[in-house]
Symmetry: none
Subunit: 325 residues, 2 copies
């Protein structure tokens, strides 16, 4: 009997050249493996093109797109191992806090303007921030956080816009809760005890302290209930950010975002397993459910804004906030 031939050559799933290799989860030749690796490592710059050479090796962009479409697993890239992933999120969070606390917006930009050019400046000495100012910085630093995620390097600018627009406001609210929770507060607040709602709110006739208070406390009460760590919160927010089901995304970006969401999700799962042994699925579900609590909070906030708009149409809301409702 002849020995089993294991190294049979098959066409590379990316470029069709014959190969006996298996890389990043698919049958693929070494050159395609290297293209995928290098784009994922950002060893080489990656620009989108319009050539559409689907199975050709001549265009990096199309070859890389074929890698994604062909099922190459981003999670096989070692920098997406859990420990490294979480370390990076923590670093990004530090950076976000630094921006939030130490900078201020130069002008009242809309989200579109911000994405093109807007950069804040170092905060003036002794300037006193209103709720409007803080919320601007909260949103700005959240967008910065999102743009520091590895995946944005491989999204087209159009998809990146959709990606950011979808989650930035929601996540900014989440980050207010995170910061307040980490500062041992029971409710959302800005630094120096500046309320999250502008002072002008007391002029609204249907003013409902109960509703406002629910907005301020709901998320944080859940954080406390589950005794969440910053690592868990950062993974949850990243899972919320990486939502592949947004309308308008290209299939490519949907695929990429979805892969990243799975990576972050499995890191969160690992943390839960580590913490709770047998009961980890409960914790994991609870943490993922924070996304719904956030949605509920946003819904409440929406109601408040509607009231606001009705009774105070001239309220000077920042463009970044206005755009979100």
């Amino acid at each position: 009997m002849s020995p089993r031939v294991s190294l049979v050559s098959r066409p590379c799933s990316i470029c069709n050249n014959l190969t006996d290799e298996f890389n990043y989860g698919v049958i693929s030749c070494n050159p395609c493996k290297m293209v995928f690796r290098r784009v994922m490592k950002f060893e080489t710059k990656f620009d989108h093109c319009l050539c559409g050479n689907k199975k050709s090796t001549s265009c990096r962009c199309c070859r890389f797109s074929a890698c994604i479409a062909g099922g190459m697993k981003i999670s096989c890239i070692q920098k997406y191992k859990h420990a490294t992933l979480i370390q990076n999120l923590i670093k990004m969070d530090h950076k976000r806090n630094n921006t939030f606390f130490n900078y201020q917006m130069c002008e009242d930009l809309s989200l579109d303007q911000l994405m093109i050019s807007g950069v804040p400046k170092i905060k003036d000495q002794g300037v006193r921030f209103t709720s409007h100012d803080w919320v601007s910085m909260e949103i700005y630093s959240t967008i910065e956080f999102m743009k520091n995620l590895d995946l944005v390097h491989i999204l087209t600018s159009n998809d990146l816009m959709i990606f950011v627009k979808n989650a930035h406001f929601k996540c900014a609210i989440f980050f207010i809760a995170v910061r307040s929770y980490m500062a041992k507060m029971e409710f959302m607040t800005f630094p120096d005890n500046v309320d999250v709602f502008p002072e002008e709110i007391s002029n609204v006739p249907d003013y409902s302290p109960k509703l406002l208070n629910r907005i301020r406390t709901l998320l944080i009460s859940k954080f406390r209930e589950f005794d969440v760590s910053i690592e868990e919160l950062l993974l949850v927010v990243t899972i919320i950010i990486c939502d592949p089901s947004v309308a308008g995304l290209s299939e490519f970006s949907m695929n990429v975002i979805s892969q990243y969401q799975r990576i972050y999700s499995s890191a969160l799962q690992a943390i839960c397993q580590n913490k709770c042994k047998a009961s980890w699925p409960t914790r994991f579900t609870n943490l993922l459910f924070l996304s719904n609590i956030l949605t509920k909070t946003i819904k409440d906030l929406d109601d408040v804004v509607v009231l606001f708009k009705y009774h105070q149409p001239a309220l000077p809301l920042r463009k970044l906030v206005k755009d979100s409702f």
Copy 2:
């Protein structure tokens, strides 16, 4: 009664990842086991680094250091089983003898110079060695012997220097005694009956044949008394070499050297047990006591050198010898 839970996951003592394995004497995951195995087997090169990623798996050096610090037992590596160990020492001794008999120093190097670059050349035909020449080769070949010990591969160059400096001269003297003893001599001598002391010694007024003779005979008389074998002598010298209590060593190197000393020591113990059954502890103690006899001989030698220096300050001692007093 519930069954004993044997496969409980615990954090790896090296990298903290969960594992249910137990390798080389500590709770440790398979990857850490493999790193330790490979460095110890010299399957892969091992360089020291400065990164200091103590509990990270990303740096081989730090991971290996953590293995040592975490208590992984070098003795569990099978090549450190007694038989292999002794075979290796015998081979190293052959090599040492080959160097000693067939080479000569190119120039008069100091120990520091020697450690960096010095290599001897094949002995010229018909050249007649003086005591000075032989002692140089004795020291050189002893250093070579020391550098052939496995453990030097994992010492930093600084610790290696300390390690060699501490024992090389002492051991060179021991090796003179070993060779003379194996050649059935009653006293230390160099080949062709060249005396271990240089001819110039007769010019010293306080010349004490009795002291010189004690130096020449003390060790060898003990060898005869205990009827030691070459295996035993090589283990003894290696135990002397692997002295973890030298000042200046890093904790890491101290730990490594100490582990090796224990390995050689237990090999010697096994030989004694094999040879003497019930009375092995006496033999074992006697053999270890040879270290003190050596120290005594070195002390005597020191006295002679002091006399020498006083009466013959211009005596052309080799740098390797000068450095040792």
